[in-house]
Symmetry: C2
Subunit: 389 residues, 2 copies
C-alpha cells in the first residue's frame, strides 16, 4: 500500500430541505457575500429567491452567467475583481460543478495580488482563499467535496485543473430534489463523470481490497440508480444515491491508499472540451470504452475483468480475456442505454484536429509519466481519439 495523506475538512449537509440551514452556516463567515451562479436554472427552480429570502440581512453581490467548462475570462476575472472591490467575506456558489470550480479560482485569486492565472497553472503558490459555501445542484463533478476545479482559457485551448488545500468548500449543501429538473442529457453526463472519477482511480498499479470494494460499490450504485433516474426523474432514493456517489467519487476517499494513476481519460477529455466546448461527462463516456480496448493486454485484462465481474456481473467462469472484452462491451452498452451519444462525430468533432489535440495532450497532461496505469504516447492518444470517432 502507498504512503498517503488524506484530509477532507468540508462539512456536508445532505437531504431534502437542508437549505433552510443556510443562515446558521453563513453567519460564521461574514455579511458581504459574492453569490455565483450560471445560466439561470437556479431561478427556474426557485432556489435564487429562496437564498435571497433566507439571507435578508446580507450584502449580496452577484456573478451570474458562469459557463459550463468555466472560463478564466471573463468569469474568474470578473469574480476576483468584485471580491477585491467589494471586500467580499465569503463566496456562496449556487449551481453545478462549473459554478463551484469557477468560485474556487475566484476564492484563490481574491487573496492574491498577482495574476490569478499563475495560481491556476501552479506558477505561484496558493497560500489562502476566501471561504466558500455552496449549494450544489448537479450530481457530477464532486467539486462540493474536493479541493480542486478545472478552468478553461479559450485563447490557448487550455483546460487546467487547479488544486489547493485552501479550496475545500467550508460547507456543501446537497439537496437531491434540486436534481429532479436537471435535463436528462446533463444528468447522464454527470453519472458518466462520476463513474470516470472512480475508474481513473480504480485502474492503478497498487490496489487494495478495501478501496477496490468501495469503488465497485459506487460504480454499481451509479449504474443501478442512473437507470432508475432516467426512468423516473423524481425517484428520490435514486437521486440521493447518485448524488452521494458523485460527492465521494472525486476526493480520494473511495480509492484510499491506492496509487495515483495519472487520470488518463480526464487528460484526454480536457482537450476535447477545450477545443470543442463539449459536455465533459459525454466526452469521458465516449473515450472510456475505447481507452479500455486500447490498453487491453495480458497485464490489464485481470483488472478490467475484476471490475466487470464485481460491478457488471460478468460471468467469472469465462476465460479472463473474454471477461474483459465483455466488460468493455457492457460498459459501452450501459452508456448507450442512458442515451449518451457514443461517437465524437455525434458531438460535432471530426478528424481534422485529432492530431493537434493528441499533441496538446501529450505535451501538457503527462500521460506517459511513471505511475500512469498504462502510459500513453501521442500516438496512443491519437488512436484512442480515432477509435472514438
Amino acid at each position: 500500500m502507498q504512503n498517503f495523506e488524506y484530509c477532507t475538512p468540508t462539512r456536508i449537509i445532505f437531504g431534502k430541505g437542508v437549505v433552510e440551514k443556510l443562515p446558521e452556516t453563513m453567519k460564521l463567515f461574514g455579511k458581504r457575500v459574492l453569490m455565483t451562479y450560471g445560466g439561470g436554472s437556479i431561478k427556474r427552480i426557485g432556489l435564487y429567491d429562496k437564498v435571497k429570502e433566507l439571507l435578508p440581512d446580507y450584502e449580496i453581490y452577484e456573478l451570474s452567467g458562469i459557463e459550463p467548462n468555466p472560463k478564466y475570462n471573463p468569469s474568474v476575472l470578473d469574480g476576483v475583481r468584485i471580491c477585491k472591490e467589494k471586500k467580499i467575506d465569503v463566496i456562496l456558489a449556487v449551481g453545478g460543478g462549473s459554478v463551484l470550480d469557477c468560485s474556487k479560482a475566484i476564492a484563490g485569486g481574491a487573496l492574491y495580488d498577482g495574476e490569478t492565472w499563475d495560481l491556476i497553472t501552479g506558477k505561484a503558490e496558493t497560500t489562502g482563499a476566501l471561504p466558500i459555501v455552496d449549494i450544489i445542484t448537479m450530481a457530477a463533478t464532486g467539486s462540493e467535496y474536493d479541493s480542486g476545479g478545472v478552468i478553461s482559457r479559450k485563447e490557448t485551448n487550455d483546460k487546467i485543473p487547479y488544486q489547493s488545500m485552501h479550496l475545500f468548500p467550508k460547507v456543501s449543501f446537497i439537496d437531491p430534489t434540486y436534481t429532479f429538473s436537471v435535463p436528462k442529457h446533463q444528468m447522464v453526463s454527470g453519472v458518466a463523470d462520476a463513474m470516470n472519477h472512480i475508474w481513473e482511480d480504480y485502474f492503478n498499479l497498487d490496489p487494495n481490497g478495501l478501496a477496490d470494494g468501495m469503488m465497485e460499490s459506487a460504480l454499481r450504485s451509479l449504474i443501478r440508480n442512473g437507470l432508475k433516474a432516467v426512468e423516473n426523474p423524481e425517484d428520490y432514493e435514486a437521486r440521493a444515491e447518485i448524488f452521494l456517489d458523485a460527492t465521494l467519487a472525486c476526493n480520494g476517499i473511495l480509492a484510499i491508499g491506492e496509487q495515483f494513476s495519472g487520470w488518463p481519460m480526464h487528460g484526454m477529455e480536457h482537450a476535447l472540451s477545450a477545443y470543442y466546448d463539449i459536455t465533459h461527462g459525454i466526452g469521458l463516456a465516449i473515450l472510456t470504452p475505447r481507452w479500455m480496448t486500447h490498453i487491453l493486454s495480458e497485464k490489464t485484462e485481470g483488472r478490467i475483468a475484476q471490475y466487470g465481474v464485481n460491478v457488471l456481473g460478468i460471468d467469472s467462469s469465462l476465460p479472463v480475456r473474454e471477461q474483459a472484452e465483455k466488460t468493455i462491451e457492457e460498459t459501452y452498452k450501459f452508456f448507450e442505454s442512458l442515451g449518451i451519444p457514443m461517437h465524437l462525430r455525434d458531438v460535432g468533432i471530426d478528424e481534422s484536429r485529432l492530431q493537434e489535440m493528441a499533441h496538446h495532450v501529450a505535451v501538457n497532461e503527462g500521460l506517459d509519466r511513471p505511475g500512469v496505469y498504462v502510459p500513453l504516447t501521442e500516438q496512443d492518444i491519437f488512436e484512442i481519439y480515432k477509435a472514438s470517432l
Copy 2:
C-alpha cells in the same frame, strides 16, 4: 435515505515511517506538550525515544499508565490537572485507542472550569478542546478518525461514550509497522472491534446501496487480512489494510446516509467491560453471533443473509432463512479461527451478575428506543448474555 450532516476534518498521515513528519505537524500547535501513553509498549518498540528525538525543543510533560477501558479516575483527572497547571498547548497521544479516548476527555476537560465528568455525561456542553495529535499504534477503535471516546468510572460501573465535534484529532499518524508487535490477543480483539463498528451501522432500518457495498468491502477486508495477520504478523499489506479498515469503520463514512441503529452490541458490551474490565473487542465478538441469533426473524433474515452472501460468500441459492443461519454460524467460526475465546465464562464472567448488567444496560443505553434495528428489552439483553455464557 436519511438527511444527515457529515464532517471529519482530521488529517491522516499514513504509511511506513510517517512519524518523521511529526515535527512539521507539531510546530503548528505550540511548544508545551502533554504526551499521553499507556503501559510502556511504546517504549519497547522504540517509539517513545523516537518522539523525544524528533521534538528536542519542546517542553514535554507526560501522563503514562493510561489503562485499557481508560478510567476517569485517575487518568482523565490527572491529565486535566497537568494541562491546567502546565498551560499545555497540545496533547500528543501515543498508543492505542484507550490512550486516545482518554486524551480526548482530557482535551475537553482542560478548557472547562467545572467537573470534566459533566462534559462526558453531557450534563455540560463541550465548547472547545485542546488540539490533539496522535500516533496510533493499534488498529481497533477508529478513535484516530472520529470525535468520540469511551470513559469508564469504576465507582459506578459506568462506561460512557463521550462525543463532541471539538474532539476530532487534528492529525493522526498511522504507521502499520507499529502493529507488528501487538500481541495476537489484542490484534484479534481490534479486528473484532472494527467489524462490530461496521455491523452496528450495517444493521439499520434505512440502508442504501453505496454504503452497504462500502461496509461489505471493509468487512471482507478485515476477515481476509485478519487471517493473514494471524498467520504472519509482519505482513505489511495485511496490517495496512486492517488499519485502514479500522480507521474508517467508526466515523460514519462507510455507512453514510444510513440510519443510526442504536449500536446495541456496544451498549451490551459496555456493561461487560465496566463490570469485569474485559477486553472490549473480545466481549463484542462473543455477543455478536448470539445477538444475531436472538433477533433472527422474517424481518431480519434478509439483511443477515445479505451480509453473509456479500461478505462470507454464503450460497445465495439457499432459502433465505438458511442463508442467515449459515451466516451466523460462519461469523462465529471466523472469530473462533482467530483464536478468540467465544464464551463469557472463558473471560471470567459467570451468571451471577447477568441480570444486574442487563438492568444497567436497559436503563442506561436506550436499546429499546425507536430507530434501533431490533429494540431490546431488559429480558432480551439478559437472554443474549445468557446465550453467551
